[in-house]
Every structure is written in structure tokens, then in C-alpha cells.
């Protein structure tokens, strides 16, 4: 899912960096100091969850859970994902400085959209919760894969085949993400329902 350094065109890198900067700035502005520690602790939990590899047939994929992260953190998800990607770059050298912007944008835009689309359904006493949670996981990973593929395809004609293959490879991952997100939400709803009502930002 992470594009490595040295692949994308300057225009795509620049646009990604600018959009990510805008998102991070918005997220930080809405995050007050009182909730900063809570957001940090939840981000570390999401980071650890993303280290879980679930088997999908003969292959395996690591969890992303970025849709759920977005539902819980709102706009604060953008700086949280930026930090997580920076830590991944420092720890595992996945991604890197120049692609940090593009990767942040592709991973963080769907969660913010999920926040507006699914938050009411997940935190309310809704019968739709399971379906909404599945959609949240399924769509956010799908949208991230789509944006990543777009970033590749926009970098040059020669990348379009790779971009299509990347998108195709993510279809089983989308289903796995949807199922696991629905199960995680059901776990939280049963064990600690207050958590689904947590707001990380002062206004939305």
C-alpha cells in the first residue's frame, strides 16, 4: 500500500505534500492539547493493530483499520496517520520523506470521509451498525487503494498496468478489512460503548 521513494513524478509528489500539509494543519488546529495524549495513545493502538497480519487464502495482509480510526478521531486522524507513516518510515523504511505527503493523503482522506459518512451510524444505537462498520472498513481501504493507484497512474503512462494490478490485489483485502472492522466495532460496542462516542476535536 505504501509507495516507495523514487517512483512517483514530481508533480504528484508535490500535490500530495501540499494536500497532506493542508490536512495535517486542519487536524492539528482542531485537536486541543487536552486531547492530544488520548489521540496519541489511540494512534499507537491503531499502529499496533496494523501490525496484525490476517491470512487471506495462501497470502496474508496486515490490517489497516484506517476507516475506524477516522470514525473515532475525525480530522485528528490526518496528523495521527501522518505520524504513523513517519514512524513506519523510521522503523521499517516503508515509504519515506518525499512520499510521506502522498501516502498520508491516500491513507487519510478516506477516514475523514468515513467520519462524516459513518460516525452517526456507528456511535448511535443503530441496528445498522454492523453494515455501516463493514462498509467503513471495506470502502476506506478500497478508496485508499484507488487513490494510491491514481497516484501511480498519474505519474506516467508506464505505471498504469501496475496501478490496475495494485487495485485488483486489494479487492480481497477490502473484504477482510470490512469483516474485521465490523467485528472490532461489535467488540467495542459490547465491551466499552462509551468509546464510540469519543470526540478528539473540539468542533466535529
Amino acid at each position: 500500500m505504501h509507495i516507495s521513494e523514487g517512483v512517483l513524478s514530481p508533480a504528484v509528489l508535490g500535490a500530495g505534500a501540499a494536500l497532506a500539509a493542508l490536512g495535517v494543519a486542519t487536524g492539528l488546529k482542531r485537536l486541543d492539547y487536552d486531547r492530544l495524549m488520548t489521540v496519541a495513545i489511540l494512534s499507537s493502538a491503531f499502529f499496533v493493530a496494523s501490525l496484525i497480519h490476517v491470512p487471506i487464502g495462501p497470502a496474508s495482509a496486515h490490517l489497516v483499520l484506517n476507516g475506524l480510526l477516522g470514525v473515532m478521531l475525525g480530522w485528528a486522524a490526518v496528523p495521527a496517520i501522518f505520524v504513523a507513516l513517519a514512524l513506519q518510515a523510521l522503523l521499517f523504511q516503508f515509504g519515506g520523506l518525499t512520499v510521506l505527503g502522498v501516502n498520508t493523503f491516500t491513507m487519510a482522506l478516506p477516514p475523514v470521509l468515513c467520519f462524516y459518512a459513518f460516525r452517526p451510524m456507528l456511535s448511535g444505537p443503530s441496528r445498522l451498525r454492523g453494515g455501516a462498520a463493514f462498509a467503513c472498513g471495506f470502502l476506506s481501504v478500497g478508496a485508499s487503494a484507488l487513490l494510491t493507484a491514481a497516484a501511480l497512474a498519474l505519474s506516467g503512462e508506464e505505471f498504469s498496468a501496475a496501478a490496475r494490478a495494485l487495485l485488483l490485489a486489494h479487492v480481497p483485502v477490502m473484504f477482510a478489512e470490512g469483516v474485521v472492522t465490523a467485528l472490532v466495532v461489535s467488540f467495542i460496542a459490547r465491551v466499552r460503548p462509551e468509546m464510540l462516542a469519543f470526540t478528539s476535536t473540539a468542533h466535529g
Binding site: 488520548t38 496519541a40 495513545i41 499496533v48 490490517l63 523504511q93 494490478a165 472490532v184
Partner: protein, 270 residues
């Protein structure tokens, strides 16, 4: 998993001010990312390797990290050679002996010199940037990098978020590791089934719930020590003299590579 194998060492690069190293790493990465021809890209790779050599990084671990990075590069090698027009180097198909449904026309591919050159360029650039990044950013521990981020003038909230996330990551990771161990002891073997997915979801959910509860306790601990909505940073001692010079030299090298890349076609060189 969460260790920082390259951060311990006593080389000149290890001792340098992380601010200078970060700026140098960023400049190098940007310049290298803009390269378009293999010559300067190869030189960039050499520069990255030289920096790693200077930092005396442990080679086996370095190679293991590089291998992980090159998984994406290898994925691109499956497509790039066949995706640009040029002089054919290798032809796969068409398969006249096989029925059409087994080997349709579009399966016949042609690798071109331009396609291979593009794949090679991406490989060189990617590895060059990663090597320089490990040598420059990896030789400070993440705590030092977080402080450097704040002192470089980036928003302090961002630096605090990085530092606190990193601090808590270890607590949460240990917690998850213990949960996984407990599942293993009770005979859990993952497979592609709902039981496996449910188990992983429960573990992820438990990690989240316990983190949420911990956030409450940490918040209390902060309030008891007088926290009132404002973090105060301690002043850090300045870096060693010469660190800025070091950064400047690396940035100049990177800029020179970029200049060579731009001027090369103008000079009519191959």
C-alpha cells in the same frame, strides 16, 4: 519489531545534530526523487551507500531492511519493462500452440529497452534515498528525531503527537504481544476463516479498549502533576560545531547530482 537497530553507534553521523541530519536527508531525498537519468541515479546510490558505510551500520540488518523496501520495487519490475514503447529485448508469447482461452492475445508481452531503463531508474533512486535516509535519520533514535522536528519549527502539537505515540507504542505492543501469546498457548492457529478473523478483531478491539482506559489514567496522572492544557518543552543543548557544515556538504552533493541530471541532455551526453 520496534527496535531501532541503526540508532546505536558512535560514528560521526550518529553524533551529529538530528536537525541537521533531517534537513540533509530531506534535501537529498527531494533531489534524488527528481532525477531522470540512470547515471546521476547510480551516483546517488553510491552516495547513499557511502553514507551508510561512514555510519558503520551493521550490514546484515541493512540488507534485510533493503530487501523489505524492494518488495514494492520488485512488484513494479513485473510491469514496467513491458509498459513503454522501444526496442524489444524480450518477447513473451504469442503462444500459437495454445488455445485462445488459455493464452489470449493480450498475454503476449514485449519488454523494451525503455521499459527496463525506467525500472532500473526507479530501483536506483528508491535504494539511494532509502540508504541515505537510514544513514541520516536512522542514526538518531526516534525520540531525538521527535525533538528535532519540534526545534525545526514544525508545529509542537505534531512533535508531541509523534513523541507520545512512540512512547505508548511500546506499552501497547507489549500488551498485544501478551494477548497473542495467550491465544497461542490456548491452541490458536490462524487460517482463512471467521474464527481467525473474529479472534484478531477481538485482540485489536481489546488493544483499543485498554488503550482508551489507559488514556484516562495517563490524563489523570498529567493533571495531578499540574497539567493545565499546555505542554512546556525543555530547552535542548545545541549540536556540535560542524554539524551544519556536514549538512551543507550533503545538500550540495545532492544538488550537484540534480544539476548534472538536468544539464546532461543539454550537453548532449549519452
Amino acid at each position: 519489531m520496534l527496535d531501532e537497530p541503526f540508532s546505536r553507534g558512535a560514528s560521526r553521523l550518529h553524533l551529529a545534530d538530528p536537525r541537521c541530519k533531517l534537513v540533509a536527508a530531506l534535501a537529498f531525498a527531494v533531489c534524488a526523487a527528481l532525477l531522470r537519468s540512470p547515471g546521476p541515479a547510480a551516483l546517488a546510490l553510491l552516495t547513499g551507500a557511502a553514507l551508510c558505510l561512514w555510519a558503520r551500520l551493521p550490514l546484515p540488518r541493512l540488507l534485510r531492511r533493503l530487501a523489505a523496501v524492494n518488495v514494492f520495487v520488485a512488484f513494479l519490475w513485473l510491469f514496467l519493462p513491458f509498459s513503454l514503447p522501444g526496442a524489444p529485448l524480450l518477447r513473451i508469447g504469442p503462444f500459437p500452440g495454445l488455445p485462445d482461452w488459455l493464452a489470449p492475445n493480450w498475454l503476449s508481452l514485449t519488454a523494451t529497452d525503455a521499459g527496463v531503463a525506467q525500472a532500473l531508474l526507479v530501483t536506483l533512486k528508491s535504494n539511494a534515498i532509502v540508504l541515505a535516509f537510514i544513514a541520516l535519520a536512522g542514526t538518531s533514535d526516534i525520540t531525538a528525531v521527535g525533538h528535532a522536528v519540534a526545534r525545526l519549527g514544525l508545529p509542537d502539537k505534531l512533535a508531541l503527537l509523534l513523541l507520545f505515540t512512540w512512547r505508548q507504542l511500546h506499552v501497547v505492543a507489549q500488551e498485544y504481544h501478551r494477548l497473542r501469546t495467550a491465544a497461542k498457548v490456548r491452541g490458536f492457529t490462524p487460517g482463512t476463516d471467521l474464527h481467525t478473523y473474529r479472534t484478531y478483531a477481538n485482540m485489536a478491539g481489546m488493544v483499543l479498549v485498554r488503550s482508551f482506559d489507559r488514556a484516562e489514567r495517563v490524563g489523570q496522572a498529567m493533571r495531578l502533576r499540574g497539567f493545565a492544557g499546555r505542554f512546556h518543552m525543555l530547552a535542548e543543548p545545541a549540536g556540535r560545531p560542524g554539524d551544519r557544515l556536514l549538512a551543507a556538504v550533503i545538500i550540495l552533493c545532492a544538488a550537484a547530482l540534480l544539476a548534472a541530471d538536468i544539464l546532461q541532455p543539454l550537453a548532449g551526453l549519452p
